[in-house]
């Protein structure tokens, strides 16, 4: 397949001043703003528990912000009705952290699932389409396997085939590298890049794997404590002097993001227990 240059410019996703909190808990976001450009790979990074997956749920309209707005394809997601929201989601493919394959279907049927649900494609055509997508992720030979028999990396690739089977304009990856061995990680990384370069699919990758993301992302955002603390190209992020960015990029155990969860004084607690 010949590589196509991703079309430049144009914003596909725009998150503007989003505030979000769950009742009784500290706010997850307090004024997050970011954009994902059409045809580009946008990385959203941040330490665990910073709400990266929550941000994806906001983008997909699964939850709504208390303040601010999330626009996809130029429309505010919060204002979409049920039918419009589902129509919007049909233009998006999403890769879940654990693959989220349907365990009662085999690999072929998992990939065919969205097509069967949304189209009336004749069986021979559907079969060809699914085999093409499985071939693209290197798993055509695993078409008859059950999800339980797949390794983590294979499950992730099947989920990727399912995510692209409807030819989405936008692909969202939620922690695509978690728990993968270096070979599987390399395969997923290559696939993300290849899908972007060959098909021009806009990609949003949420992860905390700094080195993998900086290798493929055109634009990166770093989330911490409910807001964007740094944004720019991977090179700009690497040169960012802010302590929290330095800690995250270098993987230091302690720093602005403390190693210890807030706790009473250690010595006092131990002595009190002894007494």
């Amino acid at each position: 397949m010949a590589a196509v240059t991703p079309p430049a410019g144009g914003t596909l996703v725009e998150v503007r001043d989003v505030h979000y909190a769950v009742a009784g808990r500290p706010p997850v976001f307090s004024g997050v703003s970011l954009t994902a450009a059409r045809g580009r790979i946008t990385a959203i990074m941040g330490p665990s528990g910073t709400g990266k997956t929550t941000l994806l749920r906001l983008m997909m309209g699964a939850i709504r912000p208390q303040q601010g707005s999330v626009a996809m394809f130029g429309r505010d997601v919060a204002t979409l009705g049920h039918a419009e929201l589902y129509a919007m989601r049909r233009r998006v493919g999403m890769l879940f952290q654990n693959g989220a394959l349907l365990t009662d279907l085999d690999v072929f049927e998992n990939v065919a699932f969205p097509v069967r649900e949304h189209t009336r494609l004749p069986e021979p055509l559907l079969r060809r389409l699914v085999l093409m997508k499985l071939q693209a992720v290197g798993l055509r030979g695993a078409a008859e396997m059950r999800p339980a028999a797949l390794s983590g990396g294979m499950a992730r690739r099947v989920a990727l085939a399912r995510a692209i089977v409807m030819d989405p304009e936008l692909l969202i990856y939620d922690e695509p590298f978690v728990g993968l061995d270096p070979i599987s990680m390399g395969v997923i990384l290559r696939l993300i890049q290849a899908l972007n370069e060959t098909l021009g699919i806009t990609s949003i990758v949420v992860s905390h794997d700094v080195h993998e993301l900086t290798a493929i992302a055109h634009q990166s955002y770093l989330l911490s404590e409910g807001r964007v603390v740094a944004a720019g190209t991977p090179q700009q992020l690497a040169a960012e002097p802010t302590p929290v960015v330095r800690q995250f990029m270098s993987g230091a155990a302690d720093g602005p993001v403390p190693f210890h969860y807030p706790a009473p004084d250690y010595r006092a607690q131990l002595l009190a227990e002894e007494a």
């Binding site: 989601r89 989220a100 649900e117």
Partner: protein, 254 residues
Amino acid sequence: MSIAAPLVRASDRVARIGRVGVFQLRLLGPCGAALARPRLIVHQVYNAGARSLVIIMLCGLFVGMVLGLQGYDLLQRFGSESALGIAAALGLVRELGPVITALLFAGRAGTALTSEIGLMRATDQLAAMEMMAVDPLRRVIAPRFLGGVIAMPLLTAIFDIIGIFGAHLVGVGLMRVEAGSFWSQMQSSVESHDINEGIVKSLVFGVACSLMAVYQGYHAEPTAEGVGLATTRTVVISAVLTLLLDYMLTAAFL
């Protein structure tokens, strides 16, 4: 303890009942859509029904045999052993068949439904469907609910037939009740409204048990503990609901 606490608990329980009612209403539309895809429903009738067959047949046989023994012991005191066929048939068709089938259904198929749906929630399968613009209520919940509702009367009928066979085995084979009077009295005394009562009960229990199973699974906390708790709730609530509804339906049919 403040006086408000019991009131809060009571209002919470009423709210929970309300939530089940709202869920049932939300399920109506998807049920209509699911009917247009009968293959999904047939698959669920197989899952909930065919896979419960062994336990239903086995229990039906033993319940029928016990009815044969107890019925014979009671009736022979009045010299009416020949009425054993009627006693067993009416007991099974009107009461024991629907009730015990519902209790077994809740324990076998209901728990399977709840844990399956709960695990689908815990492993993001339902969320993935929503992200693929596929409504899980239409694709997962409605076919399972309808499958359970259809399977229950079929299982009840099988339970009744095997139960009557069990009563015949003990009454005629062991206690030497005359086979002719066993069958002829049953044939002459069991009327269509007795059968209707059994059918209505099994349908109502089918709706109640299937609804409870899918509701608990769909709203299970997405953790191992949450799915376990939801499964337990399915059995307990379905059993209580079945007996409560049985009393109300029996009173209505008398």
